[in-house]
């Protein structure tokens, strides 16, 4: 059952939260909504959950008009950044809640509910903790309870709003792998909101990048990283060098370096981008972008250096040989990405 989001717009007073967003997700797809804060990603998630009504646009799921249903009828599981567990209920009661509030004819028997709660506790690896209260659990455990609670209603789709945002780095990494595993087991269409590009690129089948309420690019993590649709996407999903340049007569000039522009590049002002690992660092006599090393931090086989190029400071991975602070070098990118500016 595919999810089709068509031309969704939403404003709050003068602020435009979503400005005509169209998006599709396949059945069982793991889609990440990635963007800086204020980009509209959480608003879009809330529209899908039925917690926010869009001003324009349509949302359908498996051919059904989602906007015509209110939140409680959608059967969409939602996991919140701050867990939103019912603090006065035990873990088991939290998980059972969605089943117990069903109308009598659709409600499973108490024994069946108990069985399902046990199965979910096992799925989220919290066997034996059903009697605890949320306050007695760690952040990671709470979020697993929240996920079990959302899964208990046998949702048709799973929405996660920065689910690991409140957790520390180590727990985040563990839960990330585990979440992907749960997704693969349940086969649920999952939409995941995050501002952490690493998390999105690690987890998702496809990543949708939002900026100021508009969709910049929807693609697989590899495509997003290798061929970003805009200079913004390039800088948002990873580190690299990004400079203003100009193309004229087939020649690209950037920070005092002139090189043939890629074939077919139209003339005009451009944004020049390349990743650190796609460039060689050469001695100052070679042909390339002039750069000066500022600081070096050595770790393992390579070094992380900050260097100054054209008056701006960038961070790059570099081989050890050339990395001494103060040294002038040349950066020779294998390929540059150009976006008009």
């Amino acid at each position: 059952m595919p999810l089709i989001v068509a031309n969704i717009a939403k404003r709050f007073g003068d602020h435009i939260a979503l400005d005509g967003v169209s998006l599709e997700a396949r059945q069982g797809e793991f889609l990440a909504l990635l963007g800086p804060s204020g980009s509209g990603k959480t608003t879009l998630l809330r529209v899908l959950a039925g917690l926010e009504r869009p001003d324009e646009g349509a949302v359908s799921f498996g051919g059904e008009d989602l906007l015509a249903m209110d939140a409680r009828a959608r059967r969409i599981g939602m996991v919140f950044q701050h867990y939103a567990l019912f603090r006065h209920m035990s873990v088991a009661q939290n998980i059972a809640f969605g089943l117990e509030v069903r109308p009598a004819r659709a409600r499973p028997s108490p024994a069946e509910i108990r069985k399902r709660v046990d199965r979910l506790l096992e799925l989220v690896q919290l066997e034996g903790l059903g009697g605890r209260y949320p306050a007695q659990l760690s952040g990671g455990q709470r979020q697993r309870v929240a996920l079990a609670r959302a899964l208990a209603i046998e949702p048709r789709m799973l929405l996660l709003d920065e689910p690991f945002g409140a957790l520390d780095a180590r727990v985040r990494r563990d839960l990330r792998a585990w979440l992907r595993q749960i997704h693969d087991e349940t086969g649920l269409t999952t939409i995941f909101v995050t501002h952490d590009q690493e998390e999105a690129m690690d987890l998702a089948d496809r990543v949708a990048i939002l900026r100021d309420g508009r969709l910049e690019q929807v693609d697989t993590p590899e495509k997003i990283y290798e061929s970003p649709a805009s200079a913004f996407v390039f800088s948002f999903v990873g580190e690299g060098v990004q400079l203003t340049g100009d193309v004229a007569d087939g020649v690209l000039s950037v920070a005092g370096w002139r090189t043939p522009a890629p074939a077919g590049t139209p003339a005009g002002p451009v944004m020049v981008s390349f990743r650190g690992e796609c460039a060689d660092m050469l001695p100052a006599a070679a042909d390339g972008l002039p750069a000066r090393i500022l600081t070096v931090s050595r770790r393992g086989g390579s070094s992380r250096v900050t260097c100054e190029i054209g008056g701006q400071i960038f961070t790059l991975e570099a081989p050890k040989s050339l990395t001494t602070p103060g040294v002038e070098v040349r950066l020779a990118p294998h390929a540059v990405i150009l976006h008009p500016r």
Binding site: A71, R75, V101, Q136
Partner: protein, 277 residues
């Protein structure tokens, strides 16, 4: 830390606090009971068995029984509206709720006289309808409701604001309807604050003097509440009677306190778990 014995400085402070408390709270309370029993148990019981005393007790309980549920419902609704929604006029509403706290109880009584008295704005209208407010039980109830209006709301607003609306939103996504959400999520989360607000509200409703004094007219056996009755007896130099009735008020207050402590003690574990969250 908890098992450390107090330093001399701390001991002096504790002693000072205890003696102040003893002087200002325990001693007057003991005096009330001492005076009430000055002429023996027989005189005490006789004073309580007096029909006017009985009627004052009944009226006081009736007034509390009406105004406390009313203000509990109002307080819940107001706190819910203020804490879970943003709307124009929100801070004005908060100020209005606080108003009865900041104005003198005498004024809270007087407004009803100005509104519903014989020469009041709405006086002629309600006279035509055959309703009496001033010098009547209705007036006593109205004055008490006004004075005790903020207690429950004030207790719940900060609590609900701090809890936010996340749990309610989660409940809705899990398929719960508005009433289910209210009774299974919102209400349990504030039940201790609500209980505390109700107890405070009740104590004040039974003990209110100023506002009630203005509207009641002190008609014995009809519009006299316990505090008014105490004053009347005292002014008539019936000290045993006055203090005997006062012990009933004090006892009601003590029962309220005991009830609160008992509930807190019984649910200590759950309370701690919720507060830690």
């Amino acid at each position: 830390m908890t098992s450390r014995s107090p330093t001399p400085g701390a001991a002096a402070l504790i002693l000072a606090a205890l003696s102040t408390l003893g002087l200002l709270v325990v001693l007057p309370l003991a005096m009330v009971f001492h005076e009430a029993f000055r002429q023996g148990l027989g005189a005490y019981l006789a004073a309580l068995a007096e029909p006017d005393a009985w009627s004052a007790m009944r009226l006081t309980l009736l007034v509390a029984a009406i105004s406390v549920p009313l203000n509990a419902v109002f307080g819940l609704a107001a706190a819910w509206t203020i804490a879970k929604f943003e709307f124009p006029g929100r801070s004005l509403l908060v100020t209005l709720i606080d108003l009865p706290f900041s104005i003198s109880p005498v004024v809270s009584g007087l407004v009803w006289v100005l509104l519903f008295g014989v020469n009041g704005w709405l006086g002629p209208l309600i006279q035509e309808l055959g309703v009496r407010v001033i010098f009547n039980v209705t007036g006593v109830v109205l004055a008490t409701v006004l004075v005790t209006l903020p207690f429950v709301a004030r207790e719940l607003i900060p609590l609900m604001e701090q809890q936010g609306a996340d749990e309610e939103i989660a409940a809705i996504t899990l398929g719960a309807g508005p009433w289910t959400t209210f009774f299974r999520v919102t209400l349990p989360n504030v039940k201790w604050g609500l209980l505390y607000g109700v107890l405070l509200c009740n104590a004040r409703a039974m003990g209110e003097f100023g506002a009630v004094s203005v509207v009641s007219g002190h008609i014995r056996g009809l519009t006299n509440t316990l505090p008014l009755h105490v004053e009347i007896l005292y002014n008539e130099y019936d000290f045993v009677g006055a203090f005997a009735v006062a012990t009933v008020l004090a006892a009601l207050a003590l029962v309220t306190l005991a009830l609160k402590s008992a509930l807190e003690w019984r649910h200590a574990g759950e309370l701690a778990a919720v507060r830690r969250h």
